[in-house]
Every structure is written in structure tokens, then in C-alpha cells.
């Protein structure tokens, strides 16, 4: 069993010059990862503390089991990093004119933040909250406390320091974790189409004019999944 959250934390903090002696010692086992591991991809947008948060989030929401590798091995943080660095993260298709009012839940997203700004602000405030509440940043919390924090965030039950409303931040986290898990691997997540394999989604190669009649009796259609890169 690997311990990627701790390993990655140490590596990132070492690389960023933040780590002290203690974390360097923790990092030692990760210095020589098994050959089969996918090498960690570099980040374009995520800063070191943000990368730790996102990796911990991906590990927590998508743990490894017999159904799939864990969220980091699936590439979910890479997907999120690229999404935030790209046009969507920078507010493409988002109406960004004020005045800004919070409105009712029925009126939808009303913050003056692009998705990448929302991520940046939200992670900083979440880590400040976790530090104040549990004495540790989110990525260093044990699973039960991570779970408690995420549940409270998802229900809008906690007040982040700095005043960011919890729900919109949770919504963007959850949306991007799910997108990173299930989007086409061309975006950096869903590595090796493992999430598609997990559920039996055959991907983008779909000429089913015959299959529609062949599989109309409750039998399961199975096929090796195909992504955009496989057809290009």
C-alpha cells in the first residue's frame, strides 16, 4: 500500500522549499517510487499547498479498491490543475459583470470569482478553517476529520474564515473531482480509462445500430473502452 498523501506532501513541500527536517524524513520512502507508478505530473496552476489539498481531496473522495486506483493515480489532480489553468478556470462563458449580490439558491452562482479564483480562495480559507479547528491543514487530517469537514462544507454548515460561502466552493470541488474521474482521458484524468472500466462505459467508439437490437434483453454490453486519443 502506498501512502500518497503523505508522500506527495513531503515531495511538494521539499520541492517548494517549505519542508522542515521532519517532513524530509517522512518523504524518504517516496524518493524511490515503485517502477509501476505513474510519475507525478507537474502542475501549471496549483501552488504547493493547493496541490496537497487537491491530492488529499482526490484520495479521500476516490479511495483505491478493487474497482479502481485512487484519485491521484487516476489523475484527478492533474485534470483539475489543467481545468483551472485553462479557459474554463479563467471564467470562459461566465458572466462577470456586477453588481454582485448573493441572491437565492434558485438564482445560482453569484460570486465575483472565476473557478480558478474560487479554488484559490476556497483552499486558503479551508486550510485556515481546518488549522483553527483541528490544528492541521486539510491534507494532514485523518480520514474521519476530512470526512467531517467535507460533509459540513457540502451542507453549507460551516463558516469559512474570510466569508466565502461554503456551498459554491464545495460545488466546484465536487464537480471537478467527478469530471476528472469520468471525462475523456485526453484531459489528464480518468487515467487508463479506469473510471470508465469501473462502470462499464465503452467510451467514444459507439456505432450501435446493430447493438441496439442485440442487447434489448437485459444482457450486459461489454467492450474495451475507447477514448478520443485512441481514435486520433
Amino acid at each position: 500500500m502506498r501512502q500518497p498523501a503523505l508522500d506527495r506532501r513531503a515531495i511538494l513541500l521539499l520541492a517548494s522549499g517549505i519542508a522542515g527536517a521532519g517532513t524530509a524524513a517522512e518523504a524518504a520512502p517516496a524518493a524511490t517510487p515503485p517502477a509501476a507508478e505513474t510519475p507525478p505530473a507537474g502542475y501549471i496552476f496549483l501552488q504547493p499547498s493547493e496541490a496537497l489539498f487537491v491530492e488529499a481531496l482526490a484520495m479521500h473522495m476516490v479511495p483505491a479498491d478493487d474497482l479502481s486506483p485512487d484519485g491521484v493515480a487516476l489523475g484527478i489532480p492533474v485534470f483539475i490543475d489543467r481545468a483551472l489553468a485553462g479557459s474554463w478556470g479563467k471564467g470562459d462563458r461566465l458572466y462577470m459583470q456586477g453588481p454582485w449580490r448573493s441572491g437565492s439558491p434558485n438564482q445560482g452562482y453569484q460570486l465575483p470569482l472565476t473557478p480558478s479564483e474560487l479554488y484559490r480562495v476556497g483552499i486558503a480559507q479551508s486550510n485556515a478553517y481546518c488549522q483553527a479547528t483541528y490544528g492541521k491543514t486539510f491534507d494532514r487530517l485523518p480520514a474521519a476529520e476530512r470526512e467531517g469537514f467535507l460533509v459540513a462544507l457540502s451542507q453549507g454548515r460551516l463558516a469559512l474564515p474570510g466569508g466565502l460561502p461554503a456551498r459554491p466552493f464545495f460545488d466546484v470541488l465536487y464537480q471537478t473531482v467527478m469530471e476528472g474521474m469520468f471525462a475523456d482521458p485526453i484531459y489528464g484524468g480518468n487515467r487508463d480509462k479506469a473510471a470508465w472500466r469501473m462502470i462499464g462505459f465503452p467510451g467514444v467508439m459507439a456505432n450501435n445500430a446493430q447493438n441496439i437490437a442485440l442487447y434489448n434483453d437485459g444482457r450486459r454490453f461489454t467492450a474495451e473502452p475507447v477514448g478520443i486519443a485512441d481514435m486520433s
Binding site: 475523456d184 465503452p202 478520443i228
Partner: protein, 588 residues
């Protein structure tokens, strides 16, 4: 200072289904026609090729083919007491943009709205008495009958390549079709789509309940097809990337593969893309349009295009927006009930029953946009007595399953966590074995549901955004609650392993996708004063402006709107060609 272009005879605003149909119908007149489309060009080869088009993230999540809300959007609120705020990103509905409009990425459900909709006020008054209609519901007859529209429904079904089975040919009931439809003169041009397992279960269950299931009519070609204009459609591949996507096989009846190229064969028809119309220009009397003002959004240049006749064929909401920005017709005032432009805005109701069938596989990715069995026993069936239910309208109920794309489609039983090991197990276990029965319902007009101009927020050109005030009202909630009960009843008859609680929305939120069937705001009718356009979709106030689209619907129904949108467009095109151009003025 805007540059004035040489005059033309006709300007058409928007190049989706209605603009394409209008250009197709008017092209042969030889009139100089310019079509202004605010989005870009689209072709199957460049825009919809495989594998690029099979990208759920880009097209379904990020809505790549739809209206860009950074540039133009609407403001929204549930009641006039609230401050409307901008719809900052798309959610509840997805207007199209670019050549083909929403017709490039619709699902293809094609219905013939019949007299129970077109004569709704008369029929309810006659059967239930005028007192059955709530005082705050300005229900209106449309001023046309099913018999008036039948030839134009037929025209669209054959141009778009609709797959289906007639239920009533010239008054004779046909086995396997919708027994409640109006009489048609001939069958659909293509046989129904192939039935899948989910539809088989639904058909068996609903027949057992004494209902009348049939295959939903679909502009998804069940076989290769050549339409009357010689345009070729390929066979549907059930690829599961239909709604929100363009079709690489040209199997989805779409304007960019049918009416638009036919129209553009006429040398007198010119399409200008990236041309964003800001308003219709009126003369000093305000009673006559003299052209349109638009911006070339590639250069930023402001242009004026003089024309004798202006036909608004934008999305329903944009049609109303342009009328309000231009001063065509009297704006609706909800406080007094005076004015018509912006009134009768409606949406659609819904309900659903999510179920799980252990050990049975529905292969949800083998799918197309409009396939599936459906029952019309609670909508077009006039024998369905609304009296005990106490509502006007009804619902169509079908087995859903237009796709199994995994970012958007991962049903789990109620109570399953949203992440973690247990979520993974449930997602893997039920992805193949989940099914829902869902209802689509009408929305009746209400005095407090309307469109007007927002006092605060602006689009990219500094023009006021359209403001939408809408919520489901008592009549809609009664209907949708009943629909949820019916979905649950049908669901039980399908004998699932688990069923989630049946659901219907208690209030309208802009966040989750519901339906791109926004209607009303420039309604048609037989009388001026009570409608914005006549039954030829001609403005009562500015008679050289026609306003074509679902903006003309006086209420919304339990059917998808494209059938009557297209039929009314063909009918208006014929009226302009055969009568208006020969003798301009108010058509009667």
C-alpha cells in the same frame, strides 16, 4: 457612427430551424434576402466529426455549442418582489448559437400539438366551465387549429426525417402509434427507432395498466433517408452523444443539413455569420421597420441593414428581447395587466421516478436523443378527466435514457454517499442497472410569470439584459405532483429492486438542467390587444415585422415544442410568399 449598407428586401435574424425554414421558403421568390446569425458557421465535417464531437466535458459540461453567457444572458428571479440576478452560466436551459441554432444539438423529439393545446381555453371552458380556469391564468386559444397546421407538421416531418408510427391516419386508428394524436394524412417518413430493453419493460408495464405506449416520434433517422429537397440523412448509430452534440452521421434532422443548404442554393439568399443584431430600426412613426442595426462581432464594426421586411427568427427569448429593445408592441406590465410583449412566458414541468433493477442491464450508452416508449394518456387524451385533479394541462410519461455519459449520468439509490468507497461500489453496481420513468408537463400562463428588460445588468454591447420572472404556480404544482404519482405507479408495475422517492420540482431553480423549452413573450392570437402577433406571426403594431418561434406560444404543453415551431414557420413562410409580398400589410 454605423455604416449603412445597400438596402435589401428581407432581413432574417437568426439561422436556426425557423430562420432556415424561412430562408428556404422565401428563397425562390427572388427577393434579396440577408440572414444575420450572431454566431459562427457550422458544418458536420468541421464541427461534428468523430472522435472530437464525442467529448462529454466540452459539449455537455462546458456547453461549447450553446449561448455564451459571458456575452449575453438573462436575469432571473422567481417573483417580482425579488431583485433579478444574472444567470451567470447556463443551467436550467441551453439556448443555441451559431448556424443551425439549437437545431444542431437538439434531441429530435417532434410532436404535433393538437386542439387540446391550440384551442385550450375553449375546450376547458366547454367541458369544465369558465370557473375552472384560475383568475390569474390568462389562458388563450392560439387562433389556429390542428387542421390548419396539419400540412405544415407533415412538411416538417418529411424535411427533418422523423421516425415514428402513425396512430391516426385520416381518422382511422393505427395499431402501434399514438391513439390520441390528431388525424394525419400519411404516416411518418421513417419507421420508429429500434426498441431498447428499457422501452420493452415500460411498454409491458404500461399496457398492463391499460395505457397506450408507443415509440416517441424522433428526428433521429432510423434508416438512411433522402428528404423531398434531396438532402441526405444517415442512419442513427445510437451513439449516446445526441442532445448537446452535433451528429457526425447527419442522422439528426438539423437545419444545417436540410433547409439551410437548400436556401443558400438561391443566389439571392446571403448568410452573414458573426452578425449580432442589436435592434430593429423603426421609422419616426414607430409603426414601420426600416431595417436592423447590427455589429460585426469579428471587427466590432456597427452596421445598419435597411430592409422592407424584417423576420425575427432568433431563440424565443431573444425574439422577445429584440422586440423590447426595439419598441415593437406594448411591453407587458404585470401590475396593471396592460401590454402584451413579455407576457405569457412559460416553461415546462417535470417529474421522475428513479429505479434500480438488480442483475438487469440497460446499456444506457446505446442510445439516441428521442428514442423510448411514451404514453400520452394524461395529455392529448381528452377522456382523461382533469376535474378531480383540479388542474389544466397534463403530462407525457416516458422511459428516459437518451445517454449514459458518465460525468452526467451516475444514478445511485437514495441514501448513497456522494463520494468514497461506498459511493464507488454503488456507482459501479447500478450504472448499468438503473432506469427512470419521467414526465414532461405543461406550464400554464400566469400574470406574475413574464419577461421584461432588466434595470441593472447589461450585455456585451451595454444593452439591458432580458429579465425573466418565473416560478411554478399552483396549477403547475398540482399537475407535476400528479405526474410524480403516475411515474411512481408505472415504476412499481416495472417491478424494480429499489426505487428512490418520486420527484418533482417545488420551485424553479436556474441551476439544474430541466428543459430548453422556453415559450411565450410574443404570443400569437386572433385579436390585437390580447396578443403580440397575429396567427401569421406578424406584429400587430409593426406589420412589416414577423416574429417566428416558440415566443408565439400562448402556453406550454407536455410535448416538446419544435413540431409547432417549425409548422408555424412553414405556414408563415407560405403566407409571406403567397400573400404578403404581393400586397404588403396586415394579413387576415
Amino acid at each position: 457612427m454605423a455604416r449603412t449598407l445597400p438596402p435589401v428586401d428581407i432581413v432574417i435574424v437568426g439561422m436556426g430551424w425557423t430562420g432556415g425554414i424561412m430562408a428556404r421558403e422565401l428563397g425562390p421568390t427572388g427577393q434579396k434576402i440577408v440572414v444575420l446569425e450572431r454566431g459562427g458557421p457550422r458544418s458536420t465535417g468541421e464541427n461534428f466529426s468523430v472522435p472530437m464531437i464525442r467529448d462529454e466535458l466540452r459539449y455537455a459540461q462546458r456547453t461549447d455549442l450553446m449561448m455564451d453567457t459571458a456575452k449575453d444572458t438573462v436575469t432571473i428571479r422567481n417573483t417580482p418582489a425579488e431583485t433579478a440576478l444574472p444567470m451567470r452560466r447556463l443551467g436550467s436551459f441551453l439556448p443555441g448559437e451559431g448556424v443551425g441554432g439549437a437545431g444542431a444539438h437538439w434531441n429530435g423529439a417532434t410532436w404535433r400539438w393538437a386542439d387540446n393545446d391550440l384551442k385550450i381555453r375553449s375546450m376547458y371552458e366547454q367541458r369544465y366551465g369558465a370557473g375552472f380556469i384560475p383568475k390569474d391564468m390568462p389562458l388563450r386559444d392560439w387562433g389556429v387549429s390542428y387542421a390548419d397546421l396539419e400540412p405544415y407538421y407533415d412538411r416538417f416531418e418529411y424535411d427533418a426525417g422523423v421516425s415514428g408510427k402513425a396512430g391516426n391516419i385520416k381518422g382511422r386508428k393505427q395499431a402501434g402509434g399514438n391513439p390520441f394524436e390528431g388525424p394525419r394524412k400519411r404516416d411518418y417518413p421513417l419507421p420508429p427507432l429500434t426498441e431498447n430493453y428499457a422501452s420493452k419493460l415500460f411498454r409491458t408495464a404500461t399496457q398492463g395498466l391499460g395505457l397506450h405506449p408507443f415509440a416517441r416520434p424522433a428526428a433521429n433517422a432510423s434508416k438512411p433517408y433522402v428528404n423531398p429537397d434531396g438532402m441526405q440523412l444517415g442512419q442513427c448509430q445510437y451513439c449516446g452523444f445526441c442532445e448537446r452534440f452535433g451528429c457526425e452521421s447527419n442522422a439528426k434532422g438539423s437545419p444545417h443539413t436540410t433547409v439551410i443548404p437548400v436556401a443558400l442554393k438561391n443566389p439571392n439568399v446571403e448568410l452573414r455569420t458573426w452578425s449580432w443584431v442589436q435592434k430593429v430600426m423603426l421609422d419616426s412613426t414607430g409603426k414601420r421597420a426600416v431595417g436592423v442595426a447590427y455589429v460585426n462581432v469579428q471587427t466590432g464594426e456597427e452596421l445598419e441593414q435597411p430592409a422592407d421586411l424584417v423576420i425575427l427568427c432568433a431563440y424565443a427569448l431573444s425574439n422577445v428581447h429584440l422586440m423590447l429593445l426595439s419598441g415593437i408592441g406594448a411591453p407587458y406590465d404585470p401590475a396593471t395587466g396592460q401590454g402584451v410583449v413579455g407576457s405569457h412566458y412559460a416553461y415546462q414541468g417535470s417529474a421522475s421516478q428513479q429505479m434500480f433493477f438488480e442483475g438487469r442491464n440497460f446499456n444506457p450508452f446505446i442510445a439516441t436523443g428521442s428514442m423510448g416508449a411514451i404514453v400520452d394518456d394524461y395529455h392529448a387524451n381528452w377522456d382523461f378527466d382533469r376535474g378531480p385533479q383540479g388542474y389544466i394541462g397534463g403530462s407525457t410519461i416516458s422511459v428516459s435514457g437518451s445517454n449514459g455519459r458518465p460525468i452526467g449520468y451516475r444514478p445511485t439509490p437514495a441514501g448513497t454517499p456522494a463520494w468514497g468507497a461506498e459511493w464507488k461500489r454503488a456507482t459501479a453496481k447500478w450504472y448499468q442497472s438503473a432506469l427512470s420513468v419521467s414526465a414532461l408537463g405543461g406550464v400554464m400562463p400566469h400574470r406574475q410569470n413574464f419577461l421584461d428588460l432588466d434595470p441593472t445588468y447589461r450585455n456585451r454591447f451595454g444593452q439591458p439584459l432580458l429579465r425573466m420572472t418565473f416560478d411554478f404556480k399552483d396549477n403547475d404544482l398540482k399537475q407535476n405532483r400528479h405526474a410524480a404519482e403516475l411515474c411512481a405507479q408505472i415504476g412499481r408495475a416495472m417491478n424494480p429492486t429499489h426505487a428512490n422517492p418520486a420527484f418533482y420540482p417545488r420551485t424553479w431553480s436556474v441551476v439544474p438542467y430541466q428543459s430548453t423549452h422556453n415559450t411565450g413573450g410574443a404570443i400569437m392570437g386572433a385579436e390585437p390587444g390580447a396578443s403580440a402577433v397575429n396567427t401569421w406571426l406578424q406584429s400587430w403594431d409593426v406589420t412589416n415585422v414577423f416574429v417566428v418561434g416558440a415566443s408565439a406560444f400562448p402556453h406550454n404543453s407536455a410535448y416538446n415544442p419544435t413540431g409547432p415551431v417549425a409548422a408555424l414557420a412553414y405556414r408563415t413562410g407560405e403566407a409571406i410568399r403567397e400573400r404578403y409580398l404581393k400586397r404588403p400589410g396586415l394579413l387576415s
